[in-house]
């Protein structure tokens, strides 16, 4: 039955409350089972041998000794993973990224793998594998990789998006351009035109749970995989196609997931675990070390960005231009395009152009990281917004409001905005008591905005009503941060029953139809929509059963507050029937009662946020301390406000880490210098203050409850907000993130000679 996804403004009883999550007790008692927590009888332990070189030809891999070691059950190299991708370049890249095919493309690239009876034996076996490398010249910096003299990493990469397409291969995979209006004419109208360049370093999602799986391939070709993933269905699709299996024969079960933030949307070593299991004919458990997570999964891009903004004295931006260079690791990506789409999205700029470049270097293949590409572009845009405001003598929040995108404005990538929340967010920032807190010496305040699209996509759920009237809801999007509560609340809301009567679980790939990966902040939006529709289908069945029980036509049955009643004066003496009563009689009225929904959830509502950040900068050490932080973001509708706030806070904290500390450091030798949490320092508890939140609810017109995704947007503003606060505190503008103590000190030292300053706060 087709359903209408329009927002209806219905009143809520359950939604908007703060219920205990269904997986809470399991998680506080240690019972919840994550990727590494499953075992199978006879399981082997897998370890992966990785390249110590940034770029090297692999001339020989001698596995004979390792194979002879007692307890070793399988050794694989790329020879055990024949290329079945049939010319699909994207799939071929994934295959090659899982295991080097004749050439190691980055420090940490998998070269061989073993499965053995225990960890100790597996490690010993790795040492016995002899790999002969012929080291090749490497490049790890985005700007260096674009130079004509840079070593060319792939001979099959010819820059796309330029006309005519080059005939010589190079490291620039793609050029994207978008925008509207006449940029040159716009700059000509400006009273001030300012140009700046910014750099951001590579960061990692830093989920605390490393990648882990338990793979079991049977001799009949059927297989199972227990794995920590954001996308059990896409893991199934990718693994099955790389290994030449039927989708239906590979059952993927997503474990509890210890954080993903985009990093668990892609396969890394899972196909190796399956290949080892196939070869050894035993279950194989593969758990990455933290070192492997840093070196060989998908961090986010590092960037180099030029931005130019022209404005009139009255604050109107007349033209703006962005040129974004994203380092995507050893394979082509889409990061430049996403940067172009998001950079100016918070503003209504008549004349704008964004150009994005995707660049290949000898680093791990970049993956999505929470609002991928947007934080870097926003760092440049939000920084220059303050510089321009200063130049024309306008308050930076007023300057943003003067140019803010509203309903009817055109997004950088073309569409016209519907109702969006950035103006409300900026107004809320202006009014926020945080803005009135007095600042002392060496302290400063910064404000910045952020945008993320949010997505929908293929989704399905199963809602089954038990004979006692309790409800099981099976969803296919995973639960990283409380989503099961939200789904349970939505089902309870629709059915008119108590939250406690609904139990939600994340289904495996054999139990539910295809669901797109849980990414793009789509979980609550899409599975929420499918749950509403499935519940509405179940209600139709319930009404029909009630009609039978009361012996009246179905049309006269109405459903309210979990109860069926017959309308009309002639039926006034008939009893009402609760969901429980109807369920108890289902065996007599037609069998089990259920609702299903399969939908491509369209109309995801865009997410906008504005942040306020106060810092204190120690002029002696360059250390920046976050004193106070406020997030204002539009959620459309907060189903479970605790977990919406949690998304805002967690995203802001990640952004702060990026702004102040986190970065991949590569040595001259092209090797990662800091693949561990000691030297890659994510924010710890004592680094942060409480993170205040304000949830705005501007309904998404394309969702029955008005839901917008909330997971990603708030990682976008912090780089700019922190940079602006540092500038406000010190008078020195930072143009390189992370704005770590050493960079701040250098900038303070340079400040005497450099003219790039704004006034101290």
């Amino acid at each position: 039955m087709p359903h209408d996804n329009s927002y209806t403004g219905q009143e809520f009883k359950v939604v908007g409350n703060r219920f205990a999550r269904p997986d809470g007790v399991d998680k506080v008692t240690g019972r919840a089972r994550y990727g590494a927590d499953a075992s199978a009888p006879g399981q082997l332990v897998a370890r992966v041998l990785r390249s110590p070189h940034a770029h090297a030809k692999i001339t020989k891999i001698d596995t004979a000794k390792a194979e002879r070691l007692s307890g070793v059950k399988a050794v694989i190299t790329s020879d055990d993973l024949p290329d079945l991708t049939g010319g699909d370049r994207g799939m071929a890249d994934i295959l090659e990224n899982c295991m080097a095919r004749g050439r190691a493309l980055y420090d940490g690239h998998a070269v061989a793998a073993v499965a053995a009876v225990d960890e100790q034996t597996a490690r010993k076996a790795l040492k016995l594998i002899k790999v002969t490398y012929e080291v090749l010249p490497h490049v790890t910096d985005v700007d260096e990789a674009m130079k004509p003299e840079a070593p060319v990493i792939h001979d099959w990469v010819f820059t796309g998006g330029v006309n005519p397409q080059p005939t010589k291969p190079c490291n620039v995979a793609n050029r994207t351009e978008m925008g509207h209006g006449d940029v040159d004419a716009g700059f000509a109208q400006a009273d001030v035109v300012i140009e700046r360049s910014y750099k951001t370093e590579q960061t990692h999602q830093g989920y605390i749970e490393p990648h882990a799986c338990l793979a079991s391939v049977n001799s009949d070709g059927s297989a199972e995989m227990w794995v920590t993933t954001q996308g059990p269905f896409s893991y199934r699709t990718v693994c099955a196609s790389l290994l030449g299996m039927d989708l239906a024969k590979l059952k993927v079960t997503s474990s509890e997931i210890g954080g993903g933030f985009g990093g668990k949307t892609h396969v890394w070593a899972e196909p190796l675990a399956l290949a080892l299991s196939r070869k050894a004919n035993r279950p194989v458990k593969l758990v990455m070390t933290r070192d492997e997570v840093f070196r060989a999964t998908g961090p986010t891009a590092s960037t180099s960005i030029d931005v130019k903004v022209g404005a009139k004295k009255n604050g109107e931006i007349t033209a703006a231009e962005l040129e974004l260079r994203y380092q995507g690791g050893a394979f082509p990506g889409i990061w430049g395009m996403l940067g172009c789409m998001t950079g100016f999205a918070c503003y209504d700029i008549a004349n704008q152009r964004s150009v994005g470049w995707d660049v290949i270097v000898n680093r791990p293949k970049v993956a999505a990281y929470r609002a991928p590409s947007a934080p870097m572009a926003a760092y440049a845009v939000e920084s220059i917004m303050d510089v321009v405001a200063e130049e024309i003598g306008m308050d930076p929040v007023d300057f943003r409001l003067k140019n803010v995108a509203k309903e009817g404005a055109q997004a950088p990538y073309g569409p016209i905005y519907g109702p969006i929340g950035i103006e409300s967010a900026l107004n809320a920032v202006k009014e926020n008591p945080h803005m009135k807190v007095k600042l002392k010496k060496n302290q400063g305040r910064g404000v910045a905005c952020g945008f993320w699209f949010n997505i929908g996509g293929q989704t399905c759920v199963d809602l089954n009503i038990g004979t006692d009237g309790s409800v099981n809801l099976a969803v296919g999007t995973v639960d990283v941060g409380g989503a099961r509560s939200s789904m349970g609340m939505i089902a309870a809301e629709e059915l008119g029953i108590d939250y406690e009567d609904v139990k939600v679980h994340v289904a495996d790939t054999a139990s539910l139809g295809h669901n797109d990966t849980t990414e793009g902040s789509r979980g609550t939006f899409s599975s929420g929509m499918a749950t509403i529709f499935a519940a509405r289908d179940a209600i139709e069945v319930l009404k029909e059963r009630a009609a039978q029980m009361l012996d009246v036509p179905k049309e006269s049955i109405q459903w309210e507050n979990g109860t069926a009643s017959a309308t009309g004066a002639e039926n006034s003496n008939l009893p009402t029937l609760t969901l429980k009563e109807i369920a108890a009689k289902s065996h007599n009225t037609g069998g089990p009662i259920a609702g299903h929904n399969e939908v491509t959830a369209d109309g995801a509502g865009m997410g906008f946020a504005a942040h306020i950040c106060d810092v204190e900068v120690d002029p002696e050490t360059g250390l920046t301390k976050i004193l106070k932080y406020t997030v204002v973001q539009d959620a459309g509708k907060a189903i479970h406000p605790d977990y919406v706030e949690g998304q805002f806070q967690g995203a802001a904290a990640q952004g702060i880490g990026w702004a102040l500390n986190e970065e991949y450091v590569y040595g001259e030798d092209g090797r990662l210098q800091n693949p561990g949490f000691l030297d890659y320092r994510i924010p710890v508890c004592s680094d942060l203050p409480f993170i205040d939140t304000m949830i705005l609810e501007i309904p998404n017109p394309n969702h029955p409850y008005g839901i917008r995704g909330v997971g990603e947007t708030s990682i976008v503003p912090p780089l700019g907000a922190v940079g602006n606060a540092i500038a406000n505190a010190t008078g020195v503008r930072m143009n390189h993130a992370p704005m770590s103590p050493i960079r701040v000190l250098e900038a303070l030292d340079r400040a005497g000679v450099s003219g790039d300053q704004v006034s101290a706060g």
Binding site: R18, A20, R21, D23, G24, V25, K27, V28, T29, G30, R31, A32, R33, Y34, A36, D37, G71, D118, E119, Q120, T121, Q205, G206, Y207, I208, E209, P210, E256, I257, G258, G259, G260, F261, V287, T289, R290, V480, G481, G482, D642, Y643, E645, G646, Q649, G650, A652, A653, Q654, G676, F677, L678, I682, P683, V684, C685, S686, D687, L688, F690, I691
Partner: protein
Amino acid sequence: MSEAVLVSTTVNGDVVEFACPTDEVLLDSLRDRVGLTGVKEGCGTGDCGACSITLDGQLVCSCLVLGVEADGRDITTVEGLTEDGELHPLQQKFIDHAALQCGVCTPGFLVAAKALLDRNPNPTETEIRYALAGNLCRCTGYDKIVRAVQASAKELNKARR
């Protein structure tokens, strides 16, 4: 297999014995030999606190202790926090305050927070933040974790009075 030693230790009140390779860390012994997978590995290098346990009442990273060192000692893991099936106030407050998102850091935080409250029943916000600085959480920004610990301290003190 490397040389193994018989280890006898008390875990959450129960005596357990296992043969332990001399180069195996206690984290792996607890997970793979005792079956307590509530103890998590986030790094294996003492930097994340996901493997936090108490060893004779002392908060330690079990990834930095050898399994054989546990011989004759007394270990508490997250699995040992519940008493007679009742959640410890910290466990309850973590749920009530939504102090976990993915929850993989939670066992370590609970053990570390309990160690803090055992020795300092009235910690300030700053004391809580520094006491938990060895436990990484990537999901929450720590806000709700600190609030949950504050609420637990209050509740435990009420019960004591």
